[in-house]
């Protein structure tokens, strides 16, 4: 292992010191792909102990630049110096030998092996006999050094996404990297996990590691980085700037090249009648493990219901159940028709539009034309359908119209879908789904991976649908997006809906806690608050998990000791009290004190959490 540079107290001394030798110095890097100038005389300098954010839209050249640094691409011109020494990388191996490691967005881990085994994969040592214990110790020492909490003997599949990411970081640290490249590391994390990661990164920087942090999230860049370089269309628009000088808006305009409106046009409106209702829906995932547990939800006309949660807590399965792509138990009512376990064609014909998470793998046929992709759900309707024939002329003109209306950038409607950029492909999918006048739109991660400009237009399109009275189920891992678009947010954890919060009472901390499975004390009412019918008594809180019940008991005991009152907190208002005799005991929760102010609530929360953890320790 490479020696680790001594801990420095003052980070800034590195960057302020004129004589310090940069860990990475990339000068005039130019890389041209056919038809695209991916990097145009780009400079990038990274000092030891520094976190340097690389900000830019998709396709701005951030990843290309970092791939040059990791030896994947060879630039046509420019030079790279590592710790002052001029280098020329012919392969990623050369970059690793120079202490450069990258944590990719998608982890490359073997699920059935332990943390240690994953870290050792591909290394020359151990040669033959594998004394795992010895390496376990080495790795936990290394982890301790950087304040990373991980059990080296745990198997990867047992770990959360955040923990898996720590394994990836350890992997490159173990290979002696002192220059770390993080490719949009927070994209897969819950807010609390992201905070932890940022703390870890700051700790590593304090120990002299240099970190390049790729992102297109403006907020977190402000939170984590010391210095900032912004790329736009392959060129540097801001180089090694201090972050204090920037506002969110000025960063955005550096990235996009124009002013970005962050305030979407969201009109005030009241939700109409019910469009979608899920009753006691359970389903298993692809591994045949329970993924949805007794979910109840309701969604109304002109309403956006956001689904928050860390990836893999049942959101995909929820969407698949509603869209008919996954079998389930329970009922899914769409406009009064039970669509549970019906083929997708049935719900499509009853006004369901689906914007899938995987645009390329599910939402489009990559090798077929724009036209073929547009008519995917209406090839059987006039005017495209003519008896047994398909009228390609009518289809082309339909596609042409939508191409203009939704501003899809493509040479013509015969262009293959795979040639579209991510944003344009998403517009194509939106054009197809929204132009059919749907009653319900199920959108999963509709803006993930898109650049700021495209995000804006996708979100506005969803809001327009809402204004037209369409019901929208929006699943997103981007909390900002959920907060700005949703009328209500339901939080999912391990297949349960932990609770539902109405807009106006959105609190990012509370949602973040709920995403970790904690039920806040003021969320004792059934999930779907606006439910008009009486079928909402089997609340999401009636979770079968014993852990949940424990928490509930703590909540109860606390509430009983404090003074219970008759008024519900305004955060979530139950529309009606379900008759008590119908309810199992654990579902009857005491009312809470309306006088509790926010800090008081937080205190309660901490207490509940603390007790939960203590309980866990006793076990």
């Amino acid at each position: 292992m490479r020696a680790i540079s001594p801990i420095k107290d003052e980070l800034m001394t590195f960057t302020e010191e004129p004589n310090a030798i940069p860990a990475v110095e990339m000068r005039d890097i130019t890389l041209r792909f056919p038809g695209v100038l991916a990097n145009d005389h780009v400079n990038f300098t990274l000092f030891p102990g520094e976190i340097h954010a690389l900000l830019g839209e998709n396709g701005a050249g951030k990843s290309t630049l970092m791939n040059v640094l990791t030896g994947l691409y060879k630039p046509q011109s420019g030079e790279i110096r590592i710790h002052g020494k001029k280098v020329s990388f012919n392969s990623p191996r050369d970059a690793i030998a120079n202490g450069i490691g990258m944590v990719h967005q998608h982890f490359m881990l073997v699920e059935n092996q332990t943390v240690t085994e994953n870290i050792l994969i591909g290394l020359d040592t151990p040669h033959f006999a594998l004394n795992l214990k010895k390496f376990d110790h080495e790795i936990s020492d290394l982890a301790d050094q950087f304040g990373i909490h991980i059990d080296p003997t745990a198997k990867i599949w047992q770990l959360s996404v955040g923990e898996q990411q720590r394994v990836e970081i350890l992997k490159i640290l173990y290979r002696g990297a002192n220059i770390l490249i993080m490719d949009e590391p927070t994209a897969v994390l819950a807010p609390q996990e992201a905070d932890e990661l940022i703390e870890t990164l700051k700790g590593m920087a304090a120990q002299g590691k240099s970190i390049a942090f790729i992102s297109h999230k403006l907020n977190e860049v402000k939170q984590v980085a010391d210095k900032l370089t912004v790329l736009r269309r392959g060129r540097v628009t801001a180089e090694r700037m201090d972050l204090e000088n920037f506002t969110r808006e000025s960063l955005a305009s550096l990235m996009v090249g124009r002013e970005v409106i962050f305030n979407l046009q969201k009109c005030e409106q009241t939700a109409g009648r019910e469009v979608l209702r899920l009753e006691d829906v359970s389903a298993v995932n692809n591994k045949n493990l329970p993924a949805l547990r007794n979910v109840d939800l309701a969604l109304h006309e002109g309403e956006i219901l956001g689904i928050a949660g860390v990836a893999g807590n049942g959101q995909s399965e929820l969407v698949e159940v509603i869209t008919g792509l996954r079998e389930c138990t329970g009922n899914v009512w769409l406009e009064g028709k039970n669509i549970a376990n019906k083929p997708p064609a049935f719900s499509i014909s009853h006004g369901l539009a689906h914007i899938p998470e995987d645009r390329i793998g599910v939402g489009s046929a990559p090798n077929l034309s724009l036209t073929s992709n547009i008519i995917m759900k209406r090839y059987d309707q006039k005017p495209v359908s003519q008896k047994w024939q398909l009228d390609y002329v009518a289809a082309d003109s339909l596609a042409d119209g939508l191409k203009t209306e939704y501003d899809i950038q493509a040479p013509n409607v015969q262009t293959q879908a795979r040639k579209l950029s991510g944003g344009n492909l998403q517009k194509l999918i939106l054009a197809r789904e929204l132009s059919s006048a749907p009653r319900l739109v199920v959108a999963m991660q509709p803006t993930r991976g898109l650049d700021v400009g495209a995000i804006e237009s996708v979100q506005q399109l969803l809001l327009n649908q809402r204004a037209q009275g369409c019901a929208i189920l929006l699943v997103s891992e981007d909390l900002d997006e959920l907060l700005s678009l949703s009328d209500r947010i339901a939080v999912m954890y391990e297949g349960h809906v932990v609770g539902t919060i109405c807009s106006g009472d959105f609190d990012i901390n509370q949602i973040g806690l709920m995403m970790t499975g904690t039920i806040p004390q003021d969320l004792k009412s059934p999930s779907s608050v606006e439910d008009s019918s009486g079928s909402n008594e089997n609340s999401s809180i009636s979770a079968p998990s014993s852990r949940f019940d424990e928490v509930l008991d703590h909540v109860k005991s606390f509430e009983e000791s404090s003074s219970p009152s008759e008024e519900a907190d305004q955060s979530v208002t139950p529309p009606e009290e379900p008759s008590e005799e119908d309810l199992p005991p654990s579902e009857i929760l005491p009312e809470e004190d309306p006088e509790l102010n926010l800090s008081e609530k937080e205190r309660v929360l901490r207490k509940v959490l603390g007790e939960k953890y203590q309980q866990g320790d006793v076990e």
Partner: protein, 367 residues
């Protein structure tokens, strides 16, 4: 140790429209060149062999008529395979479907299902064609159903079903329908023969001795129908969509299981019809060797034609010519050598359609 100009493949965005055509023609030419080298190695003059090849296949109308005879089953099977491949279903079972089609068509005569004396010829032949198609489609149903319902690999199933079909046929020609102990049935009566050109020698003397039969018309009609299905019909759109991205097709509400079974049955029906044309148009009996691996050559035909029905016509004539020529030269395996190399090349040429080949040139060598 260091390769000065390492080659790497870059995913190509725009393969030109003429590229598939060029790779197909290129594969055939290259296959001839490679076989030529093999021929030269054995001491023969490749150019002489090829010119003889050409003469044997296209030298006279009579020879060309023989080519058409060989091309007929290849055309039908090639079309069936094209349809299945369009949906990315690897039906390698055309050989078996061919045999079952031939068997059921023969049953019309051998059982017999109709009075062979009184029933008009067109009715008997039509019934045989119908039963041939039913036989092939039923035999196609098996792998289709297993694939659709249990997701069993269709390549394995179809490949193994081929052997079962051949053995099934053997049972009948060795046992039940054996003609005086020979491994064949009796010759069919004339009323069960597909009309051939030679039948009209009286009216048009030039046709005398020409064995090309009406099966080629089935093939040409089938080519038009398959074209309409793939490029004009809603069903063809669904097939193409499933073929390109089954997940997207399912998401769009298309029933993949039903279409899998249906495609297998249609593909099998075409192979079964090929089997019928062979027994009714060529050998006029059911016997052991009615197929010179038509079922497998059909796969190559479909692939070389890039699944285009009209190109299938041309390619099956080319392959028919190879088969005819192989009768004329020793060793006869040369034409199979060419076929095999062609398939090998056409499959490897796909890389040219999907990727651009790039040489990495170091920008600036640093010391």
């Amino acid at each position: 140790m260091k390769i000065p100009y390492p080659v790497f493949l870059k995913r190509s965005q725009d393969a030109p429209k003429w590229m598939p055509f060029v790779t197909s023609v290129g594969a055939v030419l290259l296959a001839f060149i490679i076989s030529g080298i093999v021929l030269a190695a054995t001491g023969a003059n490749p150019l002489k062999v090829y010119s003889y090849f050409f003469k044997a296949s296209f030298g006279s109308w009579g020879a060309f008529s023989d080519v058409i005879v060989k091309a007929t089953p290849l055309l039908l099977i090639g079309l069936g395979c094209s349809l299945a491949f369009k949906m990315r279903l690897w039906n390698i079972g055309a050989e078996g479907q061919f045999f079952v089609g031939a068997f059921l068509a023969s049953a019309v005569v051998m059982v017999p299902l109709v009075n062979l004396e009184t029933t008009p010829r067109w009715a008997i032949v039509s019934l045989m064609a119908l039963l041939g198609m039913i036989g092939g489609s039923l035999y196609g149903f098996i792998p289709g159903f297993l694939k659709a319902k249990l997701n069993i690999n269709e390549v394995i199933i179809t490949l193994m079903l081929n052997y079962i079909a051949v053995l099934w046929n053997n049972y009948w020609i060795f046992g039940k329908w054996s003609e005086a102990g020979f491994q064949m049935t009796k010759t069919f009566p004339h009323s069960a023969w597909l009309p051939r050109l030679a039948d009209y020698a009286k009216e048009i003397p030039a046709f005398s001795g020409m064995t090309a039969h009406a099966g080629i018309l089935f093939g040409l009609i089938a080519a038009v129908i398959v074209y309409l299905i793939i490029y004009r019909s809603k069903w063809g759109y669904k097939i193409t969509l499933i073929g390109d991205n089954p997940k997207a097709a399912r998401y769009a509400g298309i029933n993949i299981a039903a279409n899998t079974i249906l495609i297998f049955m249609v593909s099998g029906a075409l192979a079964g019809l090929a089997g019928m044309t062979e027994v009714s148009g060529v050998v006029h009996r059911l016997q052991e060797r009615i197929s010179t691996s038509y079922g497998f050559s059909g796969v190559i035909v479909a692939w070389l034609a890039k699944l285009n029905p009209f190109a299938v016509i041309l390619v099956s004539i080319l392959f028919g010519a190879l088969l005819v020529a192989s009768r004329e030269i020793q060793p006869s395996g040369i034409s199979f050598l060419i076929q095999g190399i062609t398939l090998f090349l056409i499959i490897s040429s796909d890389v040219l359609l999907k990727y651009e080949i790039k040489w990495v040139r170091p920008a600036q060598e640093t010391a």
